[in-house]
Symmetry: C2
Subunit: 104 residues, 2 copies
């Protein structure tokens, strides 16, 4: 893991692709092809960039399995799980506020 | 409270002034003048806008006290407290990640 190009966590949370990738991995989608298919509009290029950044950031871990052909998958680190937990709180609170707005 | 111009919670979290105002109110700074002084770079105009938006969003409540001259102060609603709690988690996790990056 390289942490050299450290950017703020807010930048990750502010990127809809990064958030979608983290949430998908949390939901058990772990291979690059499956991630790409599960997130509408996400291109292979942007997915690769996001995966590299999230790994450099210490939020996901890449495992290359020694199979033929080699199989790559991604899992969340503890920090990644905390980020997903925060994302879920934001979504749930947003839903509550939307509900209040609808009733007003 | 008007909730008519509903925007997403992400917009609040993505606005540094809104976040600063919520955190300051959470820390006990409740009057407009005190808020303006406690947040470097925040203008009276932007503060008024943010206060109006945060109130419309249901995150803060305005109280006008029947004194002479009338005194206005702001407090967090339950939803506002949840937002501040999320902001604190983001900051604390960001600090942890920064620590990991320093050691790498």
């Amino acid at each position: 893991m390289k942490h050299s190009q450290y950017r703020k966590l807010e930048d990750v949370l502010g990127c809809k692709w990064s958030v979608s990738v983290l949430v998908a991995i949390a939901g058990g989608v772990q291979r690059p092809g499956a991630l790409e298919r599960s997130i509408p509009g996400l291109s292979t290029k942007v997915l690769s960039e996001r995966l590299r950044k999230l790994e450099a950031f210490g939020l996901i871990e890449k495992t290359v399995h020694d199979s033929s052909p080699p199989r790559t998958d991604y899992t969340l680190t503890n920090h990644g799980r905390k980020v997903v937990n925060i994302v879920e709180q934001v979504r749930s609170l947003d839903e509550e506020l939307r509900e209040v707005a609808r009733k007003a």
